[in-house]
Amino acid sequence: MKMKTYKSVLFSLLALGGMNSCTSDFEEMNRDKINPENVNIEYLIADAEFEMAERIVNSIDVNRNISGILCQHVSKFQYIDATRWEIREGLQRDFLSDAYHELVELKQAIEEVELIDEAEAVKLLKYEKLVMLRALSAYSWQTIADAYGSSPYSEALDVLNIQPKFDTQQEIYMGELNKLSEVLKKAGKSGNIFGSQDIIYNGDVEMWNKFANSILLRMAMRISDIDKENSVKFANQAIAGGVFESNEDNALLKYLKVTGKWNPVYNAFHTGSPSECASNTMIDLLKENSDPRMEIFWSPNDDGEYIGNGFGISGANTFSFFNKETMYDVGLDETGKVDLPGIFMDYAGVEFFLAEAVIRGGYNVTGTAKSHFLAGVEASLEYWGVSSDDVATYVAAAGVRYDAASDKMEIIATEKWVALMTQGTEAWAEVRRLDAPAMNAPVGVGIEMFPVRLKFSPTDYSFNRANVVKAASEIGGDEQTVKLWWDIK
């Protein structure tokens, strides 16, 4: 064997090796060629608003959000696990993961806005933008806290910490109340931010200020039983800052009569197998009060009767369904109201809070409890398009019932419950807090089994086990019957 040959082999190898280490184009080659690494935050804002509505508005989907059934606005005649208060694991998982997904998009937007130099803050509407983003974040956090109680908060939304600890519901509430309150103090009340990329208010800063204050009020009132001091403090700030004053101010996502941009509930009926129907809780109450919203919400059955199904009962579809003309369609054609707006929050709800605040006392609210109560009732009737004669009749009757009621809170809660129709997420929270109207127990299931929270996501048991087990133990067990922090009654 000649050394020369060995050397030449070795040499060629080294040369080839050298060639191979030329990997300078590798990084470019490996880049995603279809999807951008950076986008303008306004695209994320539109996405977060839309996805939040998808999650909140469709509150009768057994796999995503079931609060419209839990609060007993709606019942089911088939696949009755939901009306038997059996909540699917997929829902426990997805309601949470969808919320955090919105929040991470909002967080990225907030981080970018916060980079705006103070010198340019006024010109670039820095704090006005932050009011909007903080308001949406607070809204989303409240839905998490109201559903699960504890959840990761202080360590959440951090790509480097994949086992965040859980914070209590109180910590989430106080954190968000403070953040929203702080930014509201710094922001002006006029101008336009993000324009048509804001699909709720088209960028109107004045509207966002009202919505943000209304959210602050909502969160403050939710903790009125457990932490009156903070409740008063934040509610007063909200009222002073200016909350919703008419249905014109309502925070809505106005769905479009364009295929694919329909109201998600309509969409669910259109593509799935509707098994939802009117609940006896709702129909009985509407009948009792001769409520003109009956025929707006519901269609009579084939026999011309309004029938609500009980809970935990399956059966033939001889019940009342949503009214095709004004609500969702339950058939397969497209005659229903595909563009029924999704409601984030409305003026009626604000008035009911103000009525409550007067009764509780200590809040800076002008006017009587009754006047705010009746304003709420009237706003709801008007929103749903009840004729002015019927509005007057019903408001008068409500006033009579109010005067006669021994427990004013109960009648406020009951009227509010009707007014929150299609806002299942909020209605479920308020039913738990105000304990009215009375819920019906499913056949064969005790009323004590009423779900007052969602169990933690099964995903956390797999991927964040130590923290979720600790959180479960701190709240007294991960059961759907364990009451939340603010739910002391």
């Binding site: 064997m1 040959t5 082999v9 190898l13 080839l16 191979n20 280490s21 184009d25 590798f26 080659m29 490996n30 880049r31 995603d32 060629k33 279809i34 999807n35 951008p36 690494e37 986008v39 695209y43 994320l44 539109a46 996405d47 996805e51 696990d81 694991e89 998982r93 993961s97 997904h101 991470v104 998009e105 967080k107 959840s151 959440a156 939304l157 951090d158 790509v159 910490n161 994949i162 965040p164 990329q197 699909i199 479009l256 295929t259 694919g260 941009k261 259109h270 593509t271 799935g272 197998s273 033939a316 996501s457 099964p458 995903t459 048991y461 797999s462 991927f463 964040n464 007294g476 991960d478």
Partner: protein
């Protein structure tokens, strides 16, 4: 003469072509008849008698006259043979041999083969030249390439294409004849007579030469790692369409599961799953070309999940089994280290058939037909006592005449309804269509026809193939064409495959040779079955049958539309409303909502080899694998789902370029060094898009994107590139044919990893010690000990380093982009797998017993996983370098020849393997990694076996009794271990009995243990269609009767009570005596553990009887080597524990462990015919 013209070119005349065509045409007829009445005859040359009377004619004229008077024809070169010589011939009734003796002296050699006579100049006579022929004892044909060496010297030669040889040898010299796979023979030269040697094949030594990494052929005894070789004949024996599935049960340590879907996937996992990230599929290499084994299956399809979908198969199924010469399965990292990253899961090396050196051209033809029927025993086991509804009730319809009729609860997709009663007449779903007067308004008996199996048809599979081959010392070629035509077992189902394959090998000069391989495949299919559950569009037949009514008559369902084309489903909303409530009529689905797909694929390679010196050569190879794939999926208007048209187009290309230097040097008698060093580059490109209509179709029956209701169509596109640069080297040093040392090394640079971390090195060392060479034990024919160690790296998927945003459509004037669901990671490191293996090969008792034993251990660390992370991060997945997984196992292969006589041989082959894995650690902060989920999850969890199944379990007391509360089993929190997806062990037993020309062979494969979470069982029980929801309880009463009447089910276990101190249910110390209604018990609020099924099965996978006609049988017909076979696949499941589905079945390529809507498995019976010219 035109006859001669063709003869000179190709070696056969056009009469032969006609015959080929005729034979091809009658091929199948022959096969079906199975008998061929052809008189046995001696060959033409021995029988033919010639009379000639010619004067003063040139030899060429005499030859022409013989051709005219007989069927003989001559082949010669008139520059070498003197045919101008003038002769006189006068013979009567003489054989051709005699006539030729008169015409030519000894200097002309006459080779007579049947009708063909080749004239060539005879080799110069030499006193010491010995001539001879080596024949194969199996078929009596000449054996080319046999080594002939004079014992004790290096003097030698090898036989030519006819098996002939000439060697200079003295009297008394001993000649050694040896050939791979044959028993060597010695012959002592005594005189100058031509020597005739016939070599017998050695059953056990057949595998001596195996193809190893990078296509290097190696003597098996020199290998320090396990390689299993399977012959092409074995694979094509029963004509499975997908090559992967025909390896099932044949190779120890290889776990294969197959889809029952049409043209669906086969899953191949070698030595357990080591890659957490999901792809544990072995790499397929065909003639040195690494080919894509992409598997296109919706994620949900894998899960048997909600949306269902189609299984488009694993694309290694493009390999045409008919072209396969042999398959080598490389199992350990040492065997595959030269493949770099992609070898980590094992490599299946496929060598295609090559042209043989021969005279003229060989033609081989094979043809088979198979009939497929479903195995009814793999359909769910249904109850036949109760029909539609949720309780004991019918609707009522009053006719215009005022008669009340009972109406089936058509809108309910469950069978908790009234008990069947043949005397009860009711209105069924098909009695409401006025355009069908035969059934309109009529009532029928309330019974269970129990005829779901009639939905399935008899499938027919034709495989026809023809191959031409030839060769000389200049080179060889093989060209083949195979046509596969399949009609499926479901309505409207077909698959057509055309494979064209060319292999050529030519010596351009003495030193330079070129090899060209190319394949073109075209696969077209229509009507693949929908899999999984797919409740939104009811595409999956078995998915829809989890929810049905036992009163359905499948004969009647065929009537799926009205005269005007509207759907008629059994699940109509009401008497007046024919809208499907949950499910379409399955015949409507098959006819209207079909998919189709088309794949064109080219695989090719060109290699140049240059011999630099006797021990050094250089080679260069360029390969490409490219396919384009189109699929179209439809949902028609008028059904359950939103009408839809979805089209996917994708192309994948892989190009490889490789240059290496090869060394093969003997230093002296004792040392032999072989090796190579080289560089390589691999480029992959993936481009594709999926486009769907949104919101439905505007015009019925028009399937185009332009027909979308929404103009904002759904689109997903991708364009990805990857490059890997490599340097590698491999050296093998042999000492005295008994001790071998192999060293390999490879370094890869991958574009998918971050720049500081993109280089990784894989070394391997292996040794082989053939100890039988050192002993003289009479019973030990062969014994080898092998030992190896290797480290293999791996890169990651494309574009996993930087986060991106995804376009998410618009809303009004707003444009939406969403944050990804997955956090990419710029700090990924390469994965690393370290393994060692110890093995023993033994061959005993005159090679009647063979043992192949391996123990292996492999540890994979830093695996890159898309870990599920808590959603509180804002994301659901993150790419991370994970911890460590260990796989260890034992593989045993046993070959026995229990009986071997002159005419009768019994060969037996057993293999058994067991793999045990443990997840040693995962990434920091990751407790579980989900491999697959649908209700229950298949996961990797630290400290547990890889692929455990978790979900909610029963809660038990300290004695193991289940706790019961409120008439139900108490459920644990999710995440408890309730099973494992991997088998305890797998094995196979194959037997073959050969008696003269007859061969009977069978293959049984065993898959022992492993669990499956069954949606079929969960939903089927919930809907009351499965057998266990009806029948008698332990009191002998109907389970479905009211509890007050002694009905219901008694759950075995202890009553539970809530303990505040334990924050859990505990036993109250009393046994449950409260009965639960059947409906409540079978609801889905049961723990997931209730739906776990044992995955064990023992299957008679193959059974075939073939007959090979003796050479003399066809006499003067040109056909040779004719064999006919009767074949059967999956004839019987000998043992299984699942009541409602075939446990082997998977939906697509995945980890298994979850089942939902499995199709019944198919039985195949057929026959095949093979022959050559």
């Amino acid at each position: 003469m035109k006859k001669k013209l063709i003869l000179m070119d190709l070696g056969f005349n056009n009469a032969y072509i006609r015959k080929i065509l005729t034979v091809m045409r009658i091929t199948f007829l022959l096969c079906v008849l199975g008998v061929m009445q052809v008189a046995a005859a001696n060959s033409y040359s021995q029988e033919a008698r010639i009379s000639l009377d010619v004067r003063e004619k040139a030899v060429s004229d005499v030859l022409r006259e013989i051709e005219e008077k007989s069927e003989f024809f001559f082949l010669y070169n008139n520059k070498l043979i003197d045919v101008d010589r003038v002769v006189d011939v006068d013979v009567k009734n003489k054989s051709i041999t005699k006539v030729l003796d008169l015409l030519f002296a000894d200097n002309v050699q006459r080779d007579i083969s049947d009708r063909q006579i080749v004239l060539s100049p005879a080799v110069q006579q030499d006193e010491s030249l010995r001539k001879g022929t080596v024949l194969s004892a199996d078929d009596g044909l000449g054996l080319p390439g046999v080594s002939v060496v004079i014992k004790g010297t290096t003097v030698g030669t090898s036989t030519d294409i006819d098996g002939a040889f000439t060697i200079k040898a003295e009297k008394g010299d001993i000649l050694i004849f040896s050939f791979m796979g044959m028993v060597s023979q010695e012959f002592t030269v005594v005189d100058t007579k031509p020597i005739e040697i016939s070599l017998r094949s050695d059953a056990l030594q057949m595998e001596e030469v195996v193809v190893t990494a990078l296509g290097i052929s190696r003597d098996k005894k020199s290998l320090g790692y396990a390689v299993t070789k399977v012959d092409g004949d074995e694979i094509t024996k029963t004509k499975a369409v997908n090559l992967t599935s025909s390896l099932n049960g044949r190779v120890a340590g290889v776990n294969i599961s197959s889809s029952a879907g049409f043209g669906g996937s086969s899953n191949i996992v070698i030595r357990g799953g080591s890659s957490i990230s999901g792809n544990n599929q072995a790499l397929f290499v065909i003639d040195g070309v690494a080919i894509s084994n992409t598997s296109i299956t919706g994620k949900n399809t894998l899960r048997g999940g909600y949306e269902g979908g189609y299984d488009y198969g694993n694309f290694a199924s493009d390999i045409n089994p008919e072209d396969v010469e042999s398959v080598s399965v490389l199992k350990g990292a040492s065997a595959t280290a030269l493949y770099g990253a992609r070898g980590a899961n094992g490599v299946v090396i496929i060598t295609t058939k090559k042209g043989k050196s021969r005279k003229g051209m060989g033609v081989s033809v094979s043809s088979s037909v198979n009939f497929e029927t479903i195995n009814k025993k793999t359909l769910p086991n249904y109850q036949n006592d109760y029909g539609a509804g949720y309780w004991d009730n019918f609707d009522t319809h009053t006719t215009p005449e005022g008669v009340d009729q009972k109406v089936v609860m058509m809108y309910d997709d469950a069978s908790w309804g009234p008990k069947f009663d043949p005397n009860l007449m009711v209105r069924h779903w098909d009695s409401w269509d006025p355009s069908d007067p035969e059934n309109y308004g009529k009532t029928r008996a309330w019974v269970a026809p129990d005829n779901m199996d009639e939905f399935f048809e008899t499938g027919v599979l034709w495989v026809n193939s023809v191959a031409l081959d030839g060769g000389s010392e200049k080179g060889n070629y093989r060209l083949s064409y195979t046509n596969t035509d399949q009609k499926g077992t479901m309505p409207n189902q077909s698959l057509k495959k055309n494979n064209l394959n060319f292999n050529g090998n030519f010596n351009l000069t003495e030193k330079l040779s070129i090899q060209v391989n190319s394949q073109y495949n075209r696969t077209e299919s229509k009507g693949r079955p929908g899999l999984g559950y797919s409740s939104t569009n009811s595409l999956s037949f078995m998915g829809s049958m989890m929810w049905h009514q036992r009163n359905l008559d499948f004969k009647r369902l065929k009537n799926y539309q009205t005269a005007s084309g509207e759907q008629k489903t059994w699940n109509r909303a009401s008497a007046s409303d024919p809208t499907p409530v949950y499910w379409d009529n399955p015949y409507w689905t098959r006819a209207k909502n079909y998919q189709n797909d088309l794949r064109n694929r080219i695989v090719g390679s060109v290699a140049l080899n240059y011999k630099i010196s006797s021990w050094l050569s250089a080679s260069m190879k360029a390969t490409t694998d490219h396919f384009d794939f189109l699929n179209e999926e439809r949902i028609a208007k008028g059904g359950k789902g939103i009408s839809d048209y979805t089209k996917q187009i994708r192309t994948e290309t892989e190009d490889n370029f490789q240059v290496n230097l090869n060394i093969d040097k003997r230093f002296d008698e004792d040392f032999h060094l072989t090796g190579l060093v080289g560089i390589a580059q691999r480029n992959n490109e993936y481009i594709g898009s999926t486009i769907s209509t949104v919101g439905g179709l505007v015009v019925d029956n028009v399937y185009s994107i332009a027909n979308s209701k929404s103009k904002e169509i759904a689109h997903e596109g991708w364009k990805q590139e990857q490059r890997v640069n490599s340097v590698f080297g491999s050296f093998s040093l042999g000492y005295k044919n008994f001790l071998y040392l192999d060293l390999t090394g490879r370094n890869d640079w991958s574009s998918t990893l971050p720049s500081g971390n993109n280089s990784f090195f894989y070394p391997s060392v292996s040794t082989s010690f053939v100890f039988s060479e050192l002993t003289d034990l009479s019973f030990l024919n062969y014994g080898k000990l092998r030992l190896n160690w290797a480290q293999v790296g791996n890169d990651t998927g494309i574009s996993r380093l930087r986060n991106v945003y995804y376009a998410n459509g618009s809303f009004g004037n707003a444009t939406k982009y969403e944050a990804s669901n997955t956090i990419n990671n710029p700090e990924l490191k390469p994965e690393l797998t370290t393994s060692y293996e110890i093995g023993l090969d033994l061959s005993l008792f005159q090679n009647r017993v063979g043992l192949d034993f391996s123990y292996y251990n492999k540890k994979s660390k830093d695996q890159i996983i898309g870990a599920s992370i808590p959603s509180a991060t804002g994301y659901n997945y993150k790419y991370l370098n994970s911890g460590e997984i260990e796989n260890k196992g034992v593989e045993i292969g046993l070959k026995l020849v229990p009986i071997k006589t002159k005419d009768f041989t019994w060969n037996m082959n057993l293999n058994w393997s067991k793999n045990v894995s443990e997840v040693l650690s995962l990434a920091p902060g990751v407790d579980d990694y989900v491999l697959n989920s649908n209700g229950a999850k298949v996961i990797a969890r630290v400290g547990e076996e890889f692929g455990i199944i978790t979900g909610t379990d029963y809660v038990r007391d300290e004695n193991g009794n289940k706790l019961i509360a409120d008439g139900r089993y108490v459920k644990s929190s999710p995440g408890e271990i309730i099973g494992k997806a991997t088998p305890d062990w797998i094995g196979g037993i194959s037997n073959s009995f050969t008696y003269k020309g007859f061969t009977l062979s069978s293959l049984i494969s065993v898959h022992w243990g492993g669990d499956i979470y069954s949606y079929t069982e969960k939903y089927g029980r919930m809907s009351g269609v499965l057998a266990e929801t009806a029948g008698l309880n332990e009191l002998g009463n109907e389970k479905r009767d009211a509890i007050a009447d002694g009905g219901g089910v008694l759950l075995q276990g202890m009553n539970a009570m809530w303990s505040d101190s334990d924050q859990a249910y505990v036993s109250d110390g009393t046994a449950n005596t409260t009965r639960t209604t059947a409906e409540k018990f079978h609801s889905w609020s049961n723990p997931d553990a209730e739906f776990m099924v044992d995955g064990t099965y023992v299957k008679l996978r193959e059974l075939s009887l073939s007959y090979r006609f003796p050479k003399t049988f066809f006499g003067n017909l040109p056909v040779q080597d004719v064999s006919v076979s009767l074949i059967g696949r999956n004839l019987a499941t000998l043992y299984k524990k699942s009541d409602h589905f075939d446990p082997e079945v998977v939906n697509g390529v995945g980890v298994g462990g979850l089942e939902g809507g499995s199709l019944p498995s198919k039985r195949t019976i057929g026959c095949s015919l093979k022959f050559n010219f």
